[in-house]
């Protein structure tokens, strides 16, 4: 095993990678991200084969459990139009027999099912900008049953391998300012803020960002815990619940000022702050 993954040996022991992709999309995707062979260690699943219906049902369960509390569950038809057809779904799964019985119930695993059960998933859509992708789903069963369903940090492994699976050179996404997920993304490099207050999102206190992908930084994110080594010092700490500040940042961005998220969110009491760097 590549020494990069030294801290993830438990994840590889208990879980295996999967790539759900149509026959048309498979040639466009990397099947050995960072040297991890999906075909040897896991499996490539064709979502358009009838026999894979149970696995698709379980992916829907994972989405319902992780996004349901936010009222942002993705209907199956949206998942088909915006995941399965345009690109694919990458993640990690586990043998059914290895799961606690309550996890199986929560995931609605059929009693007679003997296949793999997805624990994490990552879905991104390519954009017309060559090499750029828009990430709209990154989730882990650990979000709702911490430590009991999947090995720790499986989501980091999913993200870092996923950016290689989709051959990303640049990654866009939107994230709620309060989300701890920002800390995971910023581990791969500084995030350039595209919107600080997102008027066209259901949750306006979302940040839209982009990240240039570099293999060395992705590998570093697997080893280091914290902000990317590429991040420069912060000039401000943003209180993510201060709507007026977010709106003011948005106005500045629209007038040409650049902001980057350069570190992990920090929480003290009920205040969540995110370190940003402002560049005129």
């Amino acid at each position: 095993m590549n020494p990069l993954f030294a801290h993830f040996s438990r994840a590889f022991k208990d879980c295996s990678p999967f790539l759900l992709a149509t026959q048309q999309n498979q040639p466009q995707l990397e099947l050995s991200p960072l040297g991890v062979s999906i075909t040897k260690r896991g499996e490539v699943i064709d979502p358009q084969l009838r026999s894979n219906g149970d696995f698709l049902h379980l992916l829907q369960s994972l989405d319902r459990l992780t996004f349901g509390p936010l009222e942002m569950t993705m209907p199956k038809w949206v998942s088909y139009d915006a995941g399965i057809m345009p690109s694919g779904i990458f993640g990690f799964c586990s043998e059914t027999a290895l799961l606690e019985s309550w996890v199986k119930r929560a995931m609605q695993v059929p009693d007679d099912y003997e296949g793999k059960v997805p624990l994490t998933q990552m879905i991104a859509i390519p954009t017309p900008e060559p090499g750029s992708w828009y990430l709209h789903t990154l989730s882990s069963l650990n979000q709702v049953c911490m430590g009991a369903a999947a090995p720790a940090n499986l989501i980091i492994l999913t993200l870092t391998l996923g950016v290689r699976v989709f051959r990303m050179k640049r990654l866009y996404s939107s994230t709620q300012w309060r989300s701890s997920r920002l800390g995971i993304y910023v581990g791969m490099g500084p995030l350039e803020i595209i919107t600080a207050y997102t008027y066209n999102h259901s949750v306006k206190q979302s940040v839209t960002w982009r990240l240039d992908i570099h293999r060395s930084l992705i590998e570093a994110a697997l080893i280091n815990d914290g902000a990317s080594v590429a991040a420069r010092p912060a000039t401000h700490m943003i209180d993510v619940d201060d709507t007026e500040t977010l709106k003011r940042m948005q106005t500045e961005i629209e007038s040409g000022i650049k902001y980057y998220i350069v570190g992990r969110p920090s929480t003290r009491g009920s205040i969540v702050q995110v370190p940003v760097r402002r560049i005129e």
Partner: protein, 286 residues
């Protein structure tokens, strides 16, 4: 008649303004004058900009009025994450100052508002295969207004939307029961990729594709000089006949190729029957 002349003179489009919603980093890759149609600068909407909120809310309103592509309106985040940011939304609208009270009331817009009221939209998503696009959302105000006939506006939005994103091949998913199949086959014979689709909310969904060239687009737009040779059907699928869908799906999975060559036909006690024929590489299919 050139394609540009045909589109410019199309009666359905007279008095309407085209619009495009796309992120700045994407629209530099688009054709902003599809078939010579000029999209006014003020109608090129940047979804990351605060000024776009009002118009994007009107798109949500249009989606909810028409109940969306799957019979349910889409959430705001779905529009943002799925269409605006990675792909595009193209359509046609009319200025509030020129819109009748009937339309302004439907959208809760004042006559003095300087805003475009969308009448139709087409949302498409780029795919991993270069030049391939997936259809996601097509809706048109249709018969919900009485002040003018906008028949065909949804199809024209799809035609010009796909032209504007420089689509090379197109994929879509629809139900066997959908009357929209009548529109889809205007783009030519549709190659089938699935006939029974458990991955979709509705397993009685078919996945189809076509080569997205000028012939397909202009034939769909109704240009009289563009048409297709279409094969005769070998079998007909009824929307409720799951067994027939599964049988066809099994044949697709075994490597056979099929297409929907023509529009569905009416039958007694059924919405319609859908024709299916084998593909022998006689068509330019993706």
């Amino acid at each position: 008649m050139t394609p540009e002349e045909y589109i410019s003179a199309h009666p359905t489009l007279q008095g309407l303004e085209p619009y495009l919603v796309a992120a700045p980093y994407n629209r530099v890759h688009f054709d902003l004058t599809p078939y010579g149609l000029h999209i006014p600068a003020q109608n090129i909407i940047d979804p990351t900009h605060s000024s776009s909120e009002r118009f994007c809310d009107l798109l949500l309103k249009l989606d909810s009025i028409t109940f969306g592509p799957e019979g349910m309106p889409m959430d705001k985040w779905v529009f943002y994450d799925i269409c605006y940011m990675p792909g595009s939304v193209f359509g046609f609208g009319i200025r509030a100052s020129r819109a009748p009270a009937e339309l302004r009331e439907l959208f809760n817009v004042e006559q003095g508002d300087d805003i475009l009221i969308p009448l139709a939209m087409y949302g498409a998503i780029p795919m991993a295969k270069p030049g391939a696009w997936m259809g996601h959302n097509l809706c048109s105000i249709g018969k919900r207004i009485s002040f003018r006939d906008v028949r065909g506006l949804g199809t024209l939005s799809k035609v010009l939307g796909l032209k504007s994103v420089n689509a090379v091949s197109f994929f879509g998913a629809t139900q066997w029961s959908s009357i929209a199949l009548n529109v889809h086959v205007k783009f030519g014979p549709l190659e089938l990729y699935t006939a029974f689709t458990p991955a979709h909310s509705e397993s009685h969904t078919l996945t189809y594709g076509f080569e997205c060239n000028d012939q397909a687009l202009l034939a769909a737009a109704g240009h009289p000089e563009y048409a297709f040779e279409r094969s005769s059907p070998e079998l007909w699928i009824r929307p409720g006949d799951e067994e027939a869908m599964i049988d066809l799906q099994d044949r697709l999975e075994a490597g056979e190729r099929f297409c929907i060559p023509t529009a569905p036909r009416r039958v007694h006690n059924q919405p319609h029957e859908v024709p299916v024929s084998s593909v022998f590489d006689q068509y330019d299919l993706p």
